[in-house]
Structure formats: C-alpha cells, structure tokens
Symmetry: C2
Subunit: 331 residues, 2 copies
C-alpha cells in the first residue's frame, strides 16, 4: 500500500493502455459502456502507473473549507422514508468531531446531484462528498472519480464502476437471519414480500431469504413483489392467504410492506408471522420484528474513510466495508 | 414599515435609555434577567433610534457564502423524533430554490449551538440561521440578536426575548380541533395525556383540549402527565382505565404517547378513542388520528423571512407567523 505517489494523468493512462483519452474518461464515467477487455487494459494501466485522480486534483486546491456534503431524500414520507436520516445525523456527528461541517442538499436525479456538486465546489470549496443511495449505472461515481474529488459511497456499486471506497450493509445477511429466526421458531413455509423494481438492494435482500430457505428440506420459494407501500403490504398478505393458505410467515423487504401485512393480521384475525427491514418506529408501534441496519456505524466508517482521503493517510484509497445487520426480535 | 435606516449602536441605545451598555446587552441576551421597567425603556430606545443590529453587523461583511445553518436533532429515535426532519428537508428545498446551501449540525445545548454558530461564521462566512426547537430562556435568540446575525426562529419565544422574526404552529388549535372531533363523535369524557415537563409546547397543546372541553356542559378535566415514551402512553391508558373507567377518549400530546395507549387497546380489547400529535408513520401504522403540523409550509416561511433579511427587503424584520395545523382523521 506504500507505493510512491505517481504523477500519472488521464493522458498517460490512455497512452499506457493504448486507448484514447476519451476511453479512459468513459471508463471513469460510465464503465458499463466500455468493453470488458478494454476495461481490463485501463484498469491495468491505472494500477501500473498508480494513477490517483484524487491527489492530482487536490494538489490544485489552495485551501480547505472543512465542509463535506451529502444528499438528503427530497420527500421523506411513509414508513421507511426516514431510515436514512439516522445515517445523516450520525455522519453530522462524526464530521463535527473532526471539525468538519456537513452541507445537505436535495436532488431528484444524478444529473441534479452532479450540478449541486459543481455549485458547492465552486461556491464553498467543498472538501468531499458522501454519496448515498447508490444504484445501477450511478453517474455520480464516475463524475467524482474523474475529477479527483474525494468521496466515499454509502452503498456498493450495483453495476461496473471505477474502483472507489464504499461502506454498505449486508442486506442478504439480514434477511438470512430473519428467515433463520422464523425457521427456528418452527415455520416451514416462509414467503418473501419484495419490491417489483428490485434491482440491487431488493435482489440482495431476497437472496438472503432464498439462501436460508434452501438449507431447509423441501423448501418452496414463494415470492410476491410490488411497489413499497403499506397498501401493497396488505394486498400481498391477502394474495398470500388466498393462493397459499399454508404459508405461516413472510420475510418482508421493508417495514412499509411488513406494516401493511401486520395491519391485515389485526383486521382479519390472521396470524402471519412477519419480519420487516429497517426497524422503523412503525415496526416498533406494531411490535413487528425487523432487521436493523447499523447506520450509525456505517456513517462513522464513511466519514473515517473520507477523512483519510482528505488527510493523505497511507492506504486511504479504495476500501470496502460490508457491515452485518442485526435482527430486532419482537414477540 | 419604511422608516429610514438608522445608525444606532448599542452605545447610543444605552445613552437614550439612560442605562449602561451592559444593560442593553443583557436585554438582548437574557431579557428575563432585566427588570420589566428597564426592559420597557430599552425597548423604547430601540424603537426611537430604529436600532437594527442586523444591518450594523451586515455592513461589516465583505461577501456572502449563500449558506444558512440549522440544527438537526442529535439522536433521532422513537416515534416523534423525526418529525422535525420534514421541516429540515423542506427548508433545504426552499433554500435550494434561491441558490442557498444548507449546513446542518448537531448540538446538545444552547452553549454548544452558539459555539457552532461562531465556528460557522468564522470558517464558512455563514449568511444566517434558522433556530429550531425554541424553549424557555433560550440563549440563542439574544446571542444572535446582539451580533446582528440574520435569523428566523421556528418556534415562538416561551419567555421574554428581544423582538425577532418567528414562525410557529398553533398547537393549541390542533388539540382544540382534536377534542372537538371527539366531542362531535359523541364522546363526553375526554382525558388529556400530556408531558410531565410541559413548559411551553406541552402547556400550549393542553390548553386547546381544555378550551374545547370547557365549551361542553359539565366538563371534567382529567389530565395525566409523563415523559414522552410509548411505555408511558401504555401506562397512562392503564391508569385511566383503573381510575376513570367512564372516560372513552384521550387527546395525546404526541404520537409516542398515543401509540403506547393504542397498543394497550390491542392487547386488552379496550376501545379508548385516541388522537395523537405529529402524524408520524407510527400513527399511520396503527390507524390513529393525529394532528398534522404544516412543517413544509413553516419551513417555506422561515426561509422566506430569512431571505428577506438577507436581501434587505422593506419590512423584513420582526414578523411573526402562527400557522394552523390540520387533523388527519383515521377510522
């Protein structure tokens, strides 16, 4: 990890790899658009030349703002909408402990978020960014990487991306624990209530349920999927009761879904056992067991990794941390 | 409102009022410590000389950061802990629309918050502040007023304070509407579940229940008070069932309390009618009616009033806005 700091540039990386400067830029920006063979050559060139866009960009800067930025969700509502708030608050506290200020902003798209980065870099001389709610073909990672802006992502990359530091919570481990808990309680037929648009996070959560169930003999994989609302949780509970009356439990991709299903229990006298995800106040109110993300811990690690980049510590780049969630069991 | 901008200083105000400079500072800082007669003289001097600390301080500043700051709660948890988040998010969106950045910070006391103001003013040349969660003997108002830092409070002053702009929600009107709703539904004996430390906001919410009940013949005022937890809501419901079994409804000072009481309904089969406060996801999950604060509207007004101060619009100072809450009725 203690290699000499190189003076590589995008141009020298392009020359080494035998590709155009634009291709290197494409690699940093939209790696999914670069053929995998070309991607490998650029990756090798970056490694060989020890290309560090962070250092290159930082050397041009004259002073520090002691300010970092993070997006907050633009319209927090519903049950799970505010789970990320715990992350933001903990990030704020971690930043404060090192005399950094936290700037929050709202943005409805990657493009809008990048426009905000530009603005914050120009007007407040922002030091770095914590990227939240990563998704497939995330444009932010490439944009920040190419410009050498120090950043850490909360959320792994769900599609090819330039190597970068991230912290994430192992959702699959969470639903695995939830399913094991239900199996241990004697349930044999356990459904999964998931999202209809489940790429990335939703697939990850479903995989833990599938993995735990596969360990049980003669497992049957019943998975229903809809958008993330309380109403849809209720509808899935009704559909399950109609189509699979022998199923006695369901692992839910979110507390919103779990709350909707729990309300149908109350209204109909059914007793479908449920586990939610995110351990929100609504799950607490209804006494539903739920998977707890260690958001405070994640925020602490995000800030620590960013701070390492900002203070040039050895080995600061490209760390990955996957944290284990817990299960909050309620009776 | 279109008076000439004066050049009054703390010294000229002190001379005019015939008091010491320290007394004027005390008035701005800790008005509750200044005898009411003296307070009146200082107020008259400020009015006569058109003393405007905001303008005085601002003229010394050379540039703008386009950044404002607001505190976020340091440990959001439980049911109502995140209600203020809706305010922060809306404030962020309102600021963004005028190209202002929002800096958030955590602080556990007025002293710590003031230290953060100092830091932000020094390092980021902060333009202004939105003060949230005002309380009795709030030190922030005086500190900001004396230094002429543009600010707007979300929350009225619950003890004597220098005149300043604030936006608040009429909690009393909210519990009045809640109690009227229960009366209209045929309930005659309606208790109040309040906070044990109810100075300010808690008293305000109790007063609306009291006012509505007083309009009903032979009203009986049964009020229980404990700290703001779900467990205490459950305990109050049990105490009420024991001591006043004829009471059929309760207006609750918060959703936390209402959720605890609602859970006892589910567990015991009792049917105490409940109305909560803040319309949280937990109230939604349990189907409890709740008073809704217009937090987005409040945030919009806070930013607008602050922006007026920052842009020197006529009549920008010392506006007060008390907004009406709504009742979200659930069956």
């Amino acid at each position: 990890m203690a290699r000499k700091t190189g003076r590589a540039t995008i141009t020298s990386v392009a020359e080494y790899a035998g590709v155009s400067r634009q291709t290197v830029s494409n690699f940093l920006h939209t790696p999914e658009m670069v053929a995998s063979e070309t991607r490998q050559r650029v990756e090798e060139a970056i490694a060989a030349l020890d290309y560090r866009p962070h250092l290159a960009a930082r050397s041009m800067r004259t002073d520090r703002s002691q300010a970092i930025a993070v997006r907050i969700t633009s319209a927090p509502e519903g049950v799970s909408g505010l789970a990320l708030e715990r992350f933001t608050h903990a990030l704020c506290a971690a930043a404060r402990a090192e005399n950094y200020h936290l700037i929050v902003f709202v943005a409805d798209s990657d493009e809008e978020e990048i426009a905000t980065y530009k603005d914050l870099l120009a007007t407040l001389n922002l030091d770095g960014v914590v990227v939240v709610a990563t998704h497939r073909y995330d444009q932010r990672i490439g944009w920040l990487t190419e410009r050498g802006i120090p950043f850490v992502a909360f959320g792994r990359s769900w599609s090819p991306a330039p190597e970068h530091s991230w912290v994430d919570v192992d959702g699959s481990a969470g639903t695995y624990a939830a399913t094991r808990h239900l199996l241990d309680a004697g349930h044999r037929k356990i459904a999964f209530f998931g999202w209809d648009d489940s790429a990335g996070v939703g697939d990850d959560r479903e995989s833990g349920w599938r993995r735990a169930l596969a360990e049980s003999p003669a497992a049957e994989f019943i998975s229903l999927n809809r958008a993330d609302t309380i109403e849809n949780g209720a509808a899935m509970a009704d559909q399950l009761a109609d189509e699979h009356p022998d199923v006695t439990a369901a692992v839910c991709v979110s507390d919103s879904i779990a709350v909707g299903a729990a309300r149908r229990n109350l209204e109909t006298g059914r007793s479908l056992a449920l586990v939610g995800f995110d351990d929100t106040a609504a799950a607490l109110a209804l006494g539903i067991s739920s998977v707890v993300q260690p958001l405070e811990e994640a925020a602490g690690h995000c800030f620590r990794l960013l701070h390492q980049q900002l203070t040039d510590r050895v080995g600061a780049r490209h760390q990955r941390m996957l944290l284990e969630p817990n299960l909050n069991v309620r009776s």
